[in-house]
């Protein structure tokens, strides 16, 4: 409902996709929804792996925003930045899963409470 209302407020906002394609706003609203859902998951789930997947979800929402603005501004630099975000996300997944593997080896469980000793 809110997405429809926002889009109805800005009917002039149609970029290179032809007059019938969706403009920038629906993409941004979808990205905002993905980001918020990822944040809710990160805050509510206790399994470290699922929390990590939620981080990936939030990264994807940001990538979607980058691509939306890159297309709106006809600027390929935004897409180049998404390319680098993808690479850094892959490296982050490798390191994060290594950390998770070592936590699970030590604690025999994969919840965030396994690392409670890190609390100051």
């Amino acid at each position: 409902v809110i997405a429809h209302a926002v889009y109805a407020q800005t009917p002039v906002l149609v970029s290179g996709n032809g007059p019938s394609g969706p403009g920038m706003t629906p993409y941004l609203v979808v990205a905002a929804l993905l980001f918020s859902i990822g944040m809710i998951g990160l805050l509510t789930r206790r399994n470290i792996l699922v929390m990590f997947m939620c981080v990936e979800l939030m990264l994807n929402a940001v990538n979607l925003t980058f691509v939306t603005f890159a297309r709106k501004m006809n600027d390929i630099n935004g897409e180049a930045l998404v390319f680098f975000v993808l690479v850094v996300a892959a490296a982050e997944v490798v390191v994060g899963l290594g950390i998770i593997v070592s936590i699970v080896r030590r604690r025999q469980s994969a919840t965030a409470d396994s690392a409670v000793m890190l609390k100051g």
Binding site: A3, V6, T10, V12, N17, G21, P22, T25, Y27, L28, V30, A31, A32, L33, L34, F35, S36, I37, G38, M39, I40, G41, L43, T44, R45, R46, N47, L49, M53, C54, E56, N60, N63, L64, V67, F69, R71, M73, N74, D75, I76, N77, E79, A80, F83, F84, L86, V87, V88, A90, A91, V93, V94, V95, L97, G98, I100, V101, V104, S109
Partner: protein, 184 residues
């Protein structure tokens, strides 16, 4: 109109996968729903004519990253269902949902305020090259962003070495007299 249909389909797939990812108790199912979300985002990339990024999204994310997740889940045997009903901290779940809704409202408000202003109406001709999406992107990556691209390879090497070092089982050290041979 066709773009609208594809957009709605992609957005629906992405959002359905995201909601499922947050709600299903089993991590394996969550990983598969993450694939669904990534495919939905790739469809949205296609509708925005970011063809290379859509392909990379499928190959790298859905192909490599999620497979890595599944490997770790199944290798460690942590695919037990998590009790999603229990609140770890009292009131954590309602607070988290309220914060999520607040974040969404904030982002949409920013979009609604800023979207009707002319955000960069003039096309930026920074990398002066016309052509398909892949040609333009490769031209940008291999000329303007050449050094970041090369540093990226260094980052990947560091990540791989670090991951191997971290997840390797510590060898039992030989008993040397007076040696501080490992904590465990």
């Amino acid at each position: 109109m066709a773009t609208w249909i594809v957009f709605v389909a992609g957005a629906f797939i992405a959002l359905a996968g995201a909601v499922g990812l947050v709600t299903v108790p089993n991590p394996v199912h969550a990983a598969l729903l993450l694939v669904l979300t990534l495919v939905g985002v790739a469809i949205l990339f296609v509708t925005m004519e970011a063809h290379f990024l859509a392909a990379v999204q499928i190959i790298v994310y859905a192909g490599a990253v999620v497979v890595l997740f599944l490997f770790v889940i199944m290798l460690l045997g942590v695919d037990r269902a998590e009790d999603v009903r229990m609140d770890p901290i009292t009131g954590q779940r309602p607070t988290a949902i309220a914060m999520g809704i607040a974040s969404f409202a904030m982002l949409v408000t920013i979009v609604a305020i800023k979207a009707d202003q002319s955000v960069g109406a003039a096309p930026v001709a920074d990398v002066a090259f016309e052509g398909s999406n892949v040609e333009r992107l490769s031209n940008a990556v291999f000329t303007k962003y050449l050094y970041p691209f090369e540093i990226t390879s260094l980052l990947l090497v560091i990540a791989v070495v670090g991951a191997v070092l971290m997840s390797r089982r510590p060898k039992p050290l030989p008993a040397v007299d007076g040696a501080n041979g490992g904590a465990s």
